[in-house]
Symmetry: C2
Subunit: 295 residues, 2 copies
Amino acid sequence: MGQNPSQPSFQRVVIAGVGLIGGSFAAALKAAGVARHIVGVGRTAASLDEALQLGLVDEVQSDWALALKGADLLLLAMPVGQMGAVMAALAPHLEAQTLVTDAGSTKADVIEAIYLHLGEHIERVVPAHPIAGAEKSGPSAAHADLYRGKKVVLTPLPENAPHAIDAVRAAWAACGAHMFQMSPQEHDRVFAAVSHLPHLLAFGLVHDLAGRANAEQLFKYAASGFRDFTRIAGSHPEMWRDICVANRQALLAELDAYLAELAWLRALLIQSDGVGLEKLFAEASDARNAWAANQ
Amino acid sequence: MGQNPSQPSFQRVVIAGVGLIGGSFAAALKAAGVARHIVGVGRTAASLDEALQLGLVDEVQSDWALALKGADLLLLAMPVGQMGAVMAALAPHLEAQTLVTDAGSTKADVIEAIYLHLGEHIERVVPAHPIAGAEKSGPSAAHADLYRGKKVVLTPLPENAPHAIDAVRAAWAACGAHMFQMSPQEHDRVFAAVSHLPHLLAFGLVHDLAGRANAEQLFKYAASGFRDFTRIAGSHPEMWRDICVANRQALLAELDAYLAELAWLRALLIQSDGVGLEKLFAEASDARNAWAANQ
């Protein structure tokens, strides 16, 4: 790679997991002209073939030794529940020059796996979380602009070498992302609140209604408010299982805070406290509209 | 009005509340060529002037006697909390030929007010709820196509005359709406589940987060999932205060069912029960995606 971290140049990039997230990272690096050769590794031959045919990657490999030989950057882009097993499998073949980053939606658990499996490489393993996604998944959903204008949060480790942090930051920045930095603990608390809890709440509402005897009638009259509120309930069950289990401590804290809020709302309803309800709704509405106006 | 209820013809229509809902009803009747003269009545002179200038109504009135003289159709289109007071004010001036309908989001409370204030006219008062809305409100947001392809639920009363039900149905159908019918109790239970509860949950989440010491940081990292989930938390506080108070019994039943669902989710999280979480998420995701595919 080049000496100037603002203009990285990778000779051989390995993408583990060539779906929406990994495939888009590959496409973005290619489009930016900063990756010469990209190798895809993945769970299923079908996804790898698709990624190859779509031109997201130049080569596919099922053998970690062959994939990682001479690599200067490795992205781990699979559901967080698989990260540990993947790291264990690739660790013996990871070379001394290879930078590693990941795209996991939770960080504390991924970092625990890094210490466990990639300890001897830790100065070059820089965790990251791209705040981007889409309703569709798989290689066919990937595109070079997925990260453009989106946030990517780095959660560097104390053991990371400064040059590794700079190079990983430059790689994500080359995808068009705006770069931010947090501690892993802070990251997991923030995303428990603004992402993981809303997903849990949306899954819960749809599950509750879908199990009713009159579910068909209920869904018949559900309209645009319901559609937007529950869009994230259509998300990938395995991915969200992994996120919820991995970040369950922060998520439980958020869920309990929310249950306290609902207990308050319940008391206002029981008392028919219109003044209290309107005040709470107005505070929420003002905050939501001020936030949306700044997006 | 005409003898054929599928092609209504109103000489004088009175719209009480000329905002998004009432203004769009006026515009739609005009566009369909089924209303000759439309009179607007409302709380504020500014809204009435705006509705007049926009051509939503032909005339504005602040005097119920003048407004209702010779009217063959009256729409009540104000927040449900105001319905009783408005009915009390207009009742002495309501003529024996005037059909009445409303656009309230809840029905049991509106019907209670109808029995209380419009009892002697009850055969011609047919409650309705158009399942349509928009983020914006006021006369400037009104347009003739708001109800096109949307559902309107009639909740007729046992005392309603068949010709009155037919004519009110024909008026809403002339706006392009698909017409449905339910009992008021069934209506209020269904919309507590698919509309009122989601609004309460979204208001609650934003209110919870907005009150945190790190609210600014949280909102900074909120992304598209949060945006859609909380869109309805930007809704009109007064309107939703009225809906929640009016339908609080059905809403409390829904809230309690949802709290039981969250207690289950909380137990799965505490136990790190990935299998249970994935099963629940998959059932929700399948139900949500099947519903969305049919929209």
